[in-house]
């Protein structure tokens, strides 16, 4: 589902990723871990083509996305649900509209959108809060809205960047359980996280980065 072949990403002098080769199979659940600044977010950004790599080639869903033309990127992204590390909620739209956006871009009918949004918000524990502005939500609530938006259109791939950083233990477990459920339905899930407790509890495959290099891998122990 995802393949990186000798991928590097440089920003000036900074090597955010160095010669990374990695494959994630369809339906796999995979943690990306490593200290702050290791390149986890950069890896995910390359996957949803926010930027091209400096070197190497990348395939997502069988498509070579290394130099994917601007006019096709949105089509790729419709199959990828992303939980951004900084949430990227639109402050002028309410929670329901933010979550619904991922369906709206597909041209989904309004009623379907409302139904799906309600369902997915309930899953993340924010049922009935569609009308609120993301500005007034607590950090953890915003994070769960971001999770909801990533899942609402049933994407083939979910990329979650630190999706539990603002959540308490119980809530974090719930969110990973949701991702697990999605994964069990066949979705490929990649989660960048620091939370060793969670990774112990849900011992899927881990790939570990440090200063841009892939430095280790722990196979799934489920």
């Amino acid at each position: 589902m995802i393949r990186l072949y000798h991928v590097s990403k440089r920003y000036g002098d900074i090597h955010a990723l160095q010669d990374v080769s990695l494959g994630v199979r369809k339906g796999e659940f995979c943690y990306v871990t490593g200290p702050s600044g290791a390149g986890k977010t950069t890896l995910l950004r390359l996957l949803y083509v926010a930027e091209p790599p400096s070197e190497g080639r990348i395939w997502v869903g069988g498509v070579d996305v290394t130099d994917l033309a601007r006019g096709h990127r949105h089509l790729l992204r419709r199959n990828i649900g992303v939980v951004f590390q900084d949430f990227k909620l639109i402050p002028t739209r309410n929670v329901g509209e933010n979550v619904g956006l991922a369906l709206e871009v597909l041209g989904t009918p309004r009623e379907t959108i409302q139904r799906r949004v309600r369902a997915v918000l309930t899953t993340v524990g924010l049922g009935g809060r569609e009308e609120e502005s993301p500005r007034v939500l607590s950090g953890g609530e915003q994070q769960r809205v971001a999770v909801a938006r990533a899942l609402v259109n049933d994407p083939a791939i979910v990329l979650a960047d630190e999706p539990t950083g603002n959540l308490d233990g119980a809530m974090a477990i719930e969110v990973v359980e949701i991702l697990q459920a999605v994964n069990l339905r066949g979705t490929t899930v990649v989660v960048a996280t620091h939370d060793t407790g969670l990774m112990e509890r849900f011992p899927y495959r881990r790939v570990r980065f440090d200063r841009g290099r892939l430095v280790g891998e722990v196979p799934c122990r489920l």
């Binding site: 083509v49 930027e51 949105h74 089509l75 992204r77 990227k88 639109i90 956006l101 871009v105 938006r149």
Partner: protein, 299 residues
Amino acid sequence: MPSVTAHLLRRAVRSLRENVYLSLVATGVVASATLLLGVFLVIVHNLQAVTGGWERDTHISAWFAPDIPVERRFELKEQVGAMEAVSAVRYVSEDEARTWLAERVPEVAPVLADLGPDVLPASLEITLAPGHDDPEAIHRVAETLALPEFDGLDYGQQWVERFNAFLSMLRILAVVLGGMVALAGVFLVANTIHLVVFSRREELDTMRLVGASDRFVLVPFLVEALLQGIVGSGLAIGALAVLHHGFLVRLQAAVDLGVAGEPLSFLPWPMVLGLGLLGVALAVTGTWAAVARFLSKVA
């Protein structure tokens, strides 16, 4: 209303509501730029009406030599009137000429009575047909009028030239000023819209990242701009009409301007429509350019 339009309008209206402040600013700026242009157009339009009158007034005066019998004068009037280049001839008697002079030069009015009945001789006032009123044509007509019965010809050579010079200067000035106001307007509107879009650039970014096509992002901005343009232009034209009828026309009546003569008129409808369309076009193209520019910076 087809459901796509309804959908787009709904999205645009929602966006307007979400960005009330930014929308108001954009609308206000479109309105004031359009209003400035409109005020300018009203002035140019009335200027043209007034000076158009001046132009049409140029004609040839052919003064009769003394002692031409009245029958001969009218014969000549017929002859001249039959010329292709001439659209009208009027016979001006000595009396009329005196009255005209007294009006034309009020300073001499007090003494004209003492100067005897025939201060000025009679004349023919020849109005030229359209297409024959340029300086060369006037000159040609004047040459055919070089008869012994006429004592002198005045075809306002000097005045025609002066007025033409004055008018062409006024027109160039109007074009330059109009161009400047228009440029300033376009610049200000484009800038404002750019700033408005600038404050929403993260929204553009996010929309792209969750799978929106460029068109999906662009279209509601354009619909919004259309609404802002329509409302802004409407306000501007309304304000212009209020200014014109409530102020200019009353002012004119109050001072009873004897010089310009004709009442100041409002813009003709096609011009009003053009002005409105210009405002709308400004809003829409400004938004288009700004959004496209920001989209091109976004992945």
